[in-house]
Symmetry: C2
Subunit: 398 residues, 2 copies
Amino acid sequence: MSDLHERARELDAADPLAGHRAEFALDEGTVYLDGNSLGALPAHVPARMADVIGREWGELRIRSWDESGWWTAPERIGDRIAPLVGAAPGRIVVGDSTSVNVFKAVVAATRLAGEGRDEILVDATTFPTDGYIAESAARMTGHRIVPLDPADIPGAAGPRTALALVNHVDYRTGRLHDLPGTTAALRAAGALAVWDLCHSAGALPVGLDAHGVDLAVGCTYKYLNGGPGSPAYLYVAERHQAAFDSPLPGWNSHADPFGMTPGYRAADGAVRGRVGTPDILSTLALEAALDVWDGVDVNAVRAKSLALTDFFLECVRAYVPEGRVVSVTPEAHAERGSQVALSCPDAAAVMPELIARGVVGDLRRPDVLRFGFTPLYVGFADTERAARVLADVLAAAS
Amino acid sequence: MSDLHERARELDAADPLAGHRAEFALDEGTVYLDGNSLGALPAHVPARMADVIGREWGELRIRSWDESGWWTAPERIGDRIAPLVGAAPGRIVVGDSTSVNVFKAVVAATRLAGEGRDEILVDATTFPTDGYIAESAARMTGHRIVPLDPADIPGAAGPRTALALVNHVDYRTGRLHDLPGTTAALRAAGALAVWDLCHSAGALPVGLDAHGVDLAVGCTYKYLNGGPGSPAYLYVAERHQAAFDSPLPGWNSHADPFGMTPGYRAADGAVRGRVGTPDILSTLALEAALDVWDGVDVNAVRAKSLALTDFFLECVRAYVPEGRVVSVTPEAHAERGSQVALSCPDAAAVMPELIARGVVGDLRRPDVLRFGFTPLYVGFADTERAARVLADVLAAAS
């Protein structure tokens, strides 16, 4: 045990990202491994929000739509997220929930795919909301849903496929799916690739432009630390922007929103993905939160993420008797996101006890203990401690 | 001029709502008549939000979904709004933008109306986003849009009418439409009434349950003072709740959201109108803002609102030469919301000058000066001053 403890100290000392932890509000008593559900608070956000609320809303009031840049926040913040997911400026807009953006993306993709393509392939292991929304979109557009294992999507794409909706990283297992290969296979079949980046953005390079992704959505409250329920985003590849036809053409996406004309005329660019008035407090908290990414290389984040999850798995193997838990997260780096999911029959009893001892992960019913590793604020000593506490809790519960 | 000034002082002294002004962050140098666009900041909100951000997000983090009541906020806050619009508990849920809620309501109404009804009547004078979204909903459900003057909707409703989407108060003119009569006519024709309450909720009694309204939506950042882009709400009459079929069935509306099952099964009640993860910071600012309504009778608000707009029109008549501006807001109380809209050819030059002199209204292009009266914080002396400054500006611009 002390070997791994010592190793952790050395790894932390050599970690080029270690300094970022101080940018977050974290207490030493807690190992927070639930940043894949709700990212920790960047320490400078409260002061920024006090100014947004007290001065921008309280003193400037309506003038802030112009003077404080509220009106253009969705596209401005989209441009801040863009480099983290490999997109050029002007391709991402922030706003609404992930579910609402899935609806926009799926319906718009069926329209971009054109006539004669009546199938929507859906990641059968997806976070459920994507499936529910895709089903609703299919019902309204006259398409048929085909649920598939993501690995089978490239082979299943054909002349009837309009699009596939796939998660980049599975929320439950942490499995990283093959975005470049799947996207290429869909394109070869004449279909569109719609990716959900909720569990990858901010944890690993995505390369939306480079890999030719058509549309993508993601949330901002996990690895991007935007705050509870902070707005999601929508990516539209440049080649699709002129034909992007939103099912939610609210006034914020109008070419002349303050003309308030009865006829709808879509704005150019990513702005076309906007709908109604943005939730400014949540939106500006996200904008402030993104400051922690200034100067951070996503490749360095990925390297540390893999080192952390490797080390966690090594510590678990060392501390927990074989067979007591089973990792459902792939060993291969190419197939692993930034979390480790361990299954055990008594997971529902184990997780509260872990949390009571300061190791915060979460439970995915019925039997999965989920541990997310946010490289900007989780260290190797945290990781070793989490495995040690897990071993203690599992031993006590046996 | 001094007579009206004196009258204003007397009216303020006799105003039973005058004490509420102190609950808002307002400066004496400004007469804020734009609360029909963005309500003023309730003075206690910054401290509440500092706690939400610093403690609930920063310290409790993920635990706040349960322990701080984040998860149930949309329906809890819906129940706070309910008495202001005449709804029983359990019929309103907060979340998403007004535009997104219009989409939910219009699509769901076409489904509730059933087969054979292929027309959607739309208030032709509506705030444009309602029309854009209704058009999109109609395109997706195979309905036809019929734009009409709201006064003509009762007569136009017939066996082909699925629903009518109408604004309770016109955003531009401030005209109050006949909600009870229009709703009754639609019901008699077997059609549904969907009301947009953005410009009425918090300014006058609505009586959703009493008048048999089917569905309604509204924003919360105008007379409800929820903050910039605070979440909108959706009302579903009790008789429609079991059959309410949302086009945006996100995981938050699932009967067992944390079961994360692949099949969608809708929750009972207003919760069925939820979609994705709510924007907690904006949502909880709204919740705090609603405290100013504790113990306030909406009928008293309405009485003061009419007294304020009557007094403003009287002052304008006294101070501004006849014909210099023309009121496009109805004189009759039964047809007036809580704003006065004055048209003049040079409105676009007049409004910035008014704002520079501390009278904040807004411009609706091309020629409308819009002044909103929020009875909780606008007084009669404010009103007299606004008319006086308006007269000065108009005289200087002539």
